[in-house]
């Protein structure tokens, strides 16, 4: 993972309606989404979005239905045009692209996976997976070969000649992923890609995605309305509400320091012991060096759940936290237990609902 910013979104606004430009003035002046709709007949899609997405990260955008997630992700490949703002991909201003350059961007830089799969029903699985190469004019023999390679990779050996309707939902979405991977693009956009799947299959697909990502290091923008899924996948989490960002940052940090009652609501139902990791709640080592009374060493990315098992529930224990063979902090079991209880929003300095 590098620190290079692959996608940068600046002051992005989107308003749906007959005259978005003049409605934008009201939004700049602070009109709320509800007022804009009632008084001016325009729908506020996005308000002042600023996100930097790092190369090789999975950036998860989370929010309830209607919060503008799909609208936001469609600005990246310009399936939707913004009302105001900038979108830069790899340092280039995407909004300045002409039709030809935009097509190249969609063919070679970004590929998309859809909630309802959106496979071509009249083409075989292999042809579907090869679509992204076919539109570039690659010969049939070559794109089918590449398609089969990726179908194998997502666990669909031998299904190349089937038609999409012959496959289950989970398998269809594997085709959707293979189709995006075949394009060999550095960026993958996934709009609620797993939301239509059964919980067990969804877990499988999440594991598949993480496994692929370990190998491919793509820049992934993943959209979900499910916090468990977000926490499992995210390197970085962006939380949307009514078209604006309420909080963004490290998922563990947001979980421990929610800045809004809206997020409190989200995080209160989470199994924190399973999600939080030792490094998020440890006390970093200071100059005083390694304390002598530790009950043992733990890895920085152990979950709290595994620590509870290990300590046998004894809150008096403390451990030395190790990263790459070096001690980086200490973990008191008492602070671990405190971290299991969600903080109340008012304490966290959050405001009005």
């Amino acid at each position: 993972m590098t620190d290079k910013i692959e996608i940068s979104i600046r002051n992005l606004y989107k308003i749906f309606g007959p005259d978005p430009k003049s409605a934008l003035e009201y939004v700049y002046a602070g009109t709320s989404k509800a007022d804009l709709l009632n008084d001016h007949g325009h729908v506020l899609g996005l308000r002042d979005i600023n996100i930097d997405m790092r190369d090789g990260d999975i950036t998860v955008i989370m929010g309830l239905s209607g919060s503008g997630k799909s609208t936001l992700i469609r600005h990246l490949n310009r399936l939707i045009e913004p009302t105001a703002g900038q979108v830069e991909v790899d340092g280039e201003d995407v909004l300045a692209y002409d039709e030809e350059k935009l097509r190249t961007l969609r063919r070679q830089v970004m590929s998309m996976v859809f909630q309802k799969f959106a496979l071509f029903p009249h083409r075989t699985v292999a042809e579907n997976a090869g679509t992204t190469l076919k539109v570039r004019g690659v010969a049939k023999h070559d794109y089918l070969k590449e398609a089969h390679k990726w179908l194998d990779r997502v666990g669909l050996q031998g299904y190349g000649d089937h038609y999409p309707h012959q496959l289950s939902g989970g398998m269809q979405q594997r085709v959707g992923i293979a189709r995006a991977l075949t394009s060999n693009s550095p960026i993958m956009l996934m709009d609620e890609a797993f939301s239509a799947l059964d919980p067990l299959i969804r877990t499988d697909m999440q594991d598949l995605l993480l496994e692929l990502q370990k190998e491919l290091h793509k820049t992934i923008v993943f959209i979900t309305h499910d916090l468990d899924e977000a926490l499992k996948l995210a390197d970085r989490l962006v939380i949307l509400k009514d078209g604006h960002i309420v909080q963004q940052g490290e998922p563990q940090y947001i979980l421990l320091n929610p800045n809004d009652p809206y997020i409190e609501d989200f995080v209160s139902d989470i199994n924190r012991a399973r999600v939080l990791r030792v490094s998020s709640i440890m006390t970093p080592l200071d100059d005083s060096g390694v304390p002598p009374d530790a009950h043992g060493e733990v890895a920085h990315d152990d979950t709290l759940e595994s620590m509870i098992t290990r300590s046998g529930g004894d809150t008096s224990h403390s451990y030395l936290v190790m990263r790459d063979g070096q001690p980086v902090g200490t973990l008191e079991m008492t602070s671990l237990v405190k971290a299991l209880v969600p903080r109340v929003a008012s304490e966290a300095g959050a405001r009005k609902y």
Partner: protein
């Protein structure tokens, strides 16, 4: 003394009216009746509607209804030469096409035509049962000496339906891409579909000579092209928005999208349109025998004109058989398309 005299007298228009009164104007039925001296007393109950004829009686300057129809006729006749000058050369290929197709169908011996049709039916439907059924129908028609007429009808339908598809599908595609074009085209299609077929024939008869094949060719095409246009437009508009969005997201050009996604996915609807177009061509080709279209319709017409009940009924049965054949074959082709892209 006419009923509405008071109108013109009251308005002080009597002089103007009288200047228009020419004694030798066309004599209307009302005038004749008036001359017989049967003059009824004027009451509120038999107050005539102030129609053109009635007003003309009161004021000679007002035109009669017959002048209106005469005017329409005259203006059409005046435009006719100009229209012909443009339309005649454009539509001439249709005449050639119909004539040559008819002569090919007629010249091909039955022992070549039968296997050929069987092969076509098989490839359209992939159903042996349907091939047997079609062959049996054709054998029956040939056995009762209606084969030649049936082939003529088939030839005309073949040409006209083909042209309907050739023009109708692109028009439908254009309509599906532009709401404005759709708004402008739909009233025209509605009109073409609701006008009784006889009405098409009237202006066409004046434009072209009755002996020209293109006369009935145009009538059939105008009548039968509507469903294929409508269903192509509808079919493309009904293609799943998500799939179109996916096509866009992978950077497909409009062309790739049209031929690779929209038309294949609209194909079931387009095929349904073609089926209806063929059936409507058949209906119209029978009527078109009034204007010299050859085929089974001629026999039906003979049955009506000469009161030859048997001739009319048997050829009617021939038409029914032909209709069933065409419908079954196109429907089973449609079913195959449907089955291939079940969602």
């Amino acid at each position: 003394m006419a009923t509405y005299d008071f109108l013109f007298d009251g308005a002080g228009l009597r002089d103007w009216c009288d200047t228009g009164k020419t004694g030798d104007g066309p004599v209307s039925m009302a005038d004749l009746l008036a001359k017989t001296g049967v003059s009824e007393e004027q009451t509120a109950w038999n107050l005539p509607f102030p129609s053109l004829d009635e007003l003309n009686e009161a004021c000679g300057s007002i035109a009669q209804s017959r002048d209106l129809t005469k005017g329409v006729e005259n203006s059409f006749l005046a435009a006719k030469d100009a229209l012909r000058f443009v339309l005649d050369p454009i539509t001439q290929p249709l005449s050639w096409l119909l004539e040559s197709t008819l002569s090919v169908f007629e010249a091909t011996p039955w022992w070549i035509m039968f296997p050929l049709l069987m092969i076509v039916v098989y490839f359209a439907s992939k159903s042996v049962r349907l091939v047997i059924f079609v062959t049996a129908c054709l054998l029956f028609l040939a056995f009762v000496d209606h084969y030649d007429h049936a082939m003529q009808t088939l030839a005309i339908i073949f040409v006209c339906a083909l042209l309907c598809v050739l023009f109708g599908v692109p028009i439908g595609i254009a309509m599906s891409r532009s709401n404005r074009l759709q708004r402008m085209t739909i009233p025209v299609l509605d009109m073409l579909q609701t006008l009784p077929p006889f009405v098409y024939l009237i202006p066409l008869i004046f434009l072209f000579s009755v002996t020209e094949p293109k006369l009935y060719g145009i009538a059939i095409i105008l009548y039968a092209i509507v469903p294929v246009i409508r269903l192509t437009d509808l079919g493309i508009r009904l293609v799943d928005k998500d799939v179109i969005e996916a096509a866009d997201s992978f950077g497909m050009t409009d062309r790739q999208k049209l031929f690779g996604v929209q038309i294949p996915l609209a194909l079931p609807n387009i095929m349904a349109g073609i089926n209806q177009t063929i059936m409507m061509s058949l209906a119209m080709v029978v009527i078109a025998s009034l204007v010299s279209a050859p085929g089974l319709g001629v026999l039906v017409l003979r049955g009506i004109r000469n009161l030859e009940l048997g001739v009319g009924l048997v050829s009617g049965l021939g038409i029914v058989l032909l209709a069933i054949i065409l419908d079954r074959v196109t429907k089973s082709a449609l079913d195959r398309v449907n089955a291939a892209q079940k969602h």
